[in-house]
């Protein structure tokens, strides 16, 4: 190669070989970028798929198959005495007056014998509640929408026993069988019949459990964060506390369930499956999250605030409680809400301490047996009956809505109050 050619090659940075290599490198660049986009779109699509499946299934869970029954209460002996209907025992008195038989007879009249047989076992209760809320229907002919039996309901959706499907089709064609929005789903509790279940019991259990968790984890978490960030001397004890908080934040939740079972239920054996024990167990799990986020929020308060307060004569405790804590509070609250949202969705530790029992009435206190929303979802998902599939998805939608509201609140707090110093 001549000297000029070497010179030429050295100068020309854009030879054919170079161009080819550059094209290859740019193609690799594009492929890499696409792979990254694909990875993140995959996650987004799974999320969308999950939410869509739950919603599609869940919409049915907020409805139930109801039979339209025409009842003429004037022909019956049921009295509409308002003082009796105002009593808490009104439903029992209606039962004693023969309401179940009245409903059955009316159903036979308007639906036929085969149709009346498919009225749900709790249909007369629904009728009774309608009478209690509006006694005037006793003086006229009324069309009541009463729950169908679970068998008819599944025949109506197209699965279940084949012999009921013609009846379901016939009743639907006559406009007497329809899926109606079921507000009672939010007001009832667990039951054995998917037509009669509701989530209020589980929801109330969840709320009570979360109250206990908050009452315990928030003060302890905030105080521990203040101590570690503001006062703790650098020594072995402090290191030990920090190591154990960091480890607790990463310990599997089921281990906290074992702790609750071995310690809390050993101390209070009679409070099995009570919100008190569940809340304490979840509080131990949530506390490290609050401590860690609280420490970050406290760290973000600039030292000049502390110095200024100290300079005008505040004591160390006054500095922290009058100045640092109020400034760090939005950040601490954000972390607390996120920790609480995690606790609300937690299932495994509560299974360990026995919150998986069938509880048909909402809990009336911190020590009465109860279940919580995620555990209720787990229990329903175990049911073989097809009717529970939709109910489970509906319960999941309610749970996700709660989580969405909590996370939205956390984001709002973060954006609204957090200062950048």
């Amino acid at each position: 190669m001549s000297e000029a050619a070497i010179h030429e090659q050295r100068l020309s940075t854009r030879g054919a070989v170079f161009e080819k290599r550059l094209r290859k490198r740019y193609a690799a660049e594009r492929r890499f970028k696409l792979a990254g986009l694909g990875a993140i779109l995959f996650s987004v699509m799974v999320l969308a798929f999950l939410l869509v499946t739950m919603t599609m299934n869940g919409i049915g869970g907020f409805q139930r198959a109801e039979l339209a029954v025409t009842v003429d209460f004037r022909e019956t002996s049921i009295s509409g005495d308002p003082t009796v209907l105002a009593l808490p025992t009104a439903i029992q008195s209606l039962e004693a007056q023969g309401l179940p038989q009245v409903i059955d007879a009316a159903a036979e009249k308007s639906l036929g014998r085969a149709g009346a047989d498919q009225l749900g076992a709790s249909a007369w209760r629904t009728a009774g509640k309608a009478i209690i809320s509006d006694p005037s229907i006793l003086t006229r002919e009324a069309v009541l929408h009463l729950p169908a039996s679970n068998r008819l309901s599944s025949a109506f959706t197209g699965d279940g026993q084949a012999e009921l499907q013609p009846l379901a089709r016939q009743l639907a064609a006559e406009g007497k069988l329809a899926k109606n929005f079921d507000p009672g789903f939010l007001a009832r509790s667990d039951a054995t019949d998917p037509q009669d279940v509701g989530i209020w019991g589980a929801l109330k259990g969840s709320i009570l459990t979360m109250l206990v968790t908050l009452a315990f984890a928030f003060p302890v978490g905030v105080l521990a964060a203040l101590y570690l960030e503001e006062y703790a001397p650098r020594n072995r004890w402090t290191d030990l506390i920090e190591v154990s908080i960091n480890n607790l934040a990463a310990v599997p939740s089921i281990i906290f369930g074992l702790l609750g079972l071995a310690v809390f239920l050993w101390i209070f054996p009679s409070y099995r499956s009570a919100p008190l024990i569940g809340g304490l167990t979840l509080a131990l799990m949530t506390m490290p999250v609050i401590v860690i986020s609280g420490r970050n929020a406290i760290k973000a308060v600039p030292p000049s605030i502390r110095d200024g307060a100290l300079a005008i004569g505040a004591s160390p405790v006054q500095v922290v409680f009058h100045h640092v804590l109020p400034l760090a509070l939005p950040g601490i609250l954000t972390g607390t809400i996120i920790g609480m949202a995690r606790a609300l969705g937690e299932t495994a530790p509560l299974l360990m301490i026995g919150m998986r029992a069938f509880v048909a009435t909402p809990p009336d206190g911190l020590t009465s047996p109860s279940t919580v929303l995620p555990v209720q979802i787990f229990l329903w998902s175990d049911e073989i009956d097809r009717g529970f599939v939709e109910r489970t998805s509906a319960a999941i939608i309610v749970l996700l809505l709660f989580l969405l509201v909590m996370n939205g609140l956390a984001i709002y707090l973060r954006n609204r109050f957090e200062k950048k110093w």
């Binding site: 499946t53 105080l223 490290p288 299932t347 495994a348 299974l351 979802i377 996700l400 996370n407």
Partner: protein, 461 residues
């Protein structure tokens, strides 16, 4: 009277003490105008209030624990209790029934014997309640009077109150150590009991798992307590299948979000990942069991695999991997962000494309942090319970076929403790031994990972 009312009483008395002491501090000021109090009047109030509330609340808590025993003792020694059945379930129901009626919690009794006990119960309850209130009042009064008499204009109330505050802070931070200790001790205690029945060698190295909760607890068959299939199932689902999904997807998501995405895209994509991280595990479990598992089975049948079951390690592992993606992504995000900008700028200035910079400079430099993140992700995956409980199955198979049902440590903990077995049975206790192994493994992984992260961060600071 419930402890809640006693607690309210103590708090009310504390408020009264607070007001009184503050008024006293103000009167000091009025008596000698011009002199300074050693503390602000509020601190005098807090000092007295703490002296009232802390002792009486401690008493109320202790009283709440011992009062039921006192009541029971007193009732059992009454003549009406002599005719009770000597022991057992019936005696307990009669007692609790009578107690409920005397308490006003139940309208009437079911057992005839309980009726005779209602009156003694009511009597004893009234007496114990009166004693409880009296002692609470006495303690509150003594604490209040003693502290109130100590108030002087030069009394350092603030330092004393602040000492209590500091003590409270210290106690709050000790809760974390107590929790760790509580977990450790309770697991070790129950595990030792288990190893008293089954030798650790059989447990840790046996290859057949199938405890019989209904079998004779005195003579368990050690060959049924081999946990190797559980360990294998846990590693296979949590550390292999889930990680094959989560590591590439999580890492690439983090790279795209930090290096390529425009701010407006990032504003939408990041919350989506956060939502994915916030979905409760029971929802993932339901999704795995109801949607993913049938898809996996149908896909297996379509390619000609005949024995695909509806519960498979693959379905559980895939969903678990998706659950872990946001976690891996945020850990990778942090470690890539920790690489100094100068290294990235240097590489770009030499003419490397963005992807070459990422692959040859950023990822190698961030590798320790990424590896630590993966270790934390594995520790989270093997501790995950609901997905495997709902989708992985109960059969303890020692196989590498991802389409077979497999069981994990967490699944067996749930299965052993939610069954009907008694607390002294080795099958029940084995749950604690499994929990102990799980705790130690996750602890080890976390410890190493946090160390690596810390050292890695220091290297670039």
């Amino acid at each position: 009277m419930s402890p809640a009312i006693l607690l309210l009483l103590a708090l009310g008395l504390g408020l009264a003490g607070w007001l009184a002491a503050r008024a006293r501090a103000w009167s000091f000021r009025r008596q000698a105008p011009g002199t300074r109090l050693a503390s602000l009047p509020n601190y005098y109030g807090w000092y007295v209030a703490l002296w009232i509330v802390i002792p009486s609340v401690l008493f109320v808590l202790a009283w709440g624990a011992i009062a039921p025993q006192i009541v029971n003792q007193a009732v059992l020694s009454s003549p009406a209790a002599a005719s009770l059945p000597a022991f057992g379930f019936e005696r307990q129901t009669i007692l609790s029934e009578a107690y409920a009626v005397a308490n006003g919690a139940a309208p009437g009794v079911f057992h005839t014997q309980a009726k005779a006990l209602v009156e003694p119960y009511r009597e004893v309850l009234t007496r114990t309640n009166a004693i409880g209130i009296a002692i609470t009042l006495l303690i509150a009064f003594l604490g209040g009077a003693w502290s109130f008499l100590r108030l002087r204009p030069d009394f350092m109330a603030r330092t004393r109150v602040e000492r209590v505050v500091m003590l409270t802070l210290l106690l709050a931070s000790l809760v974390a150590i107590l929790t760790t200790l509580g977990i450790f001790i309770s697991l070790v205690f129950e595990t030792t009991r288990f190893f008293g029945m089954i030798s650790p060698v059989d447990f840790l190295f046996g290859t057949h798992w199938g405890p019989d909760p209904m079998g004779n607890p005195q003579n368990p068959d050690p060959s049924r307590y081999g946990a190797i299939p559980l360990f294998w199932g846990t590693i296979y689902i949590g550390a292999i299948i889930a990680m094959i999904v989560a590591i590439p997807l999580g890492l690439m998501s983090a790279i795209y979000l930090t290096q390529y995405a425009s701010p407006s895209w990032r504003k939408w994509l990041k919350p989506a990942l956060e939502i994915l991280a916030g979905v409760p595990t029971v929802v993932y479990g339901y999704f795995a069991a109801l949607t993913v598992a049938p898809i996996v089975r149908d896909a297996a049948l379509a390619v000609g695999i005949t024995h695909a079951s509806s519960e498979s390690a693959l379905a559980a592992g895939l969903v678990m991997g998706v659950m872990i993606i946001p976690f891996v992504s945020s850990m990778a995000d942090d470690s890539i962000a920790a690489v100094p900008q100068a290294m990235r700028d240097g590489s770009l200035a030499m003419g490397a494309t963005t992807s070459e910079t990422i692959r040859r400079v950023l990822v190698p430099a961030a590798l320790p942090g990424i590896v630590a993140g993966v270790m934390l992700a594995i520790s989270r995956a093997i501790g995950e319970t609901m997905i495997v409980v709902m989708a992985a199955g109960a059969a303890a198979n020692l196989s590498a076929n991802p389409l077979e049902a497999m069981t994990t440590v967490t699944f067996q903990i749930v299965a052993m403790l939610t069954g009907e077995g008694s607390f002294d049975h080795p099958a029940t206790l084995s749950a604690f031994a499994l929990g102990f192994v799980l705790f130690m493994v996750t602890l080890g992984l976390n410890f190493i990972a946090l160390r690596v992260v810390k050292r890695f961060r220091e290297a670039y600071e």
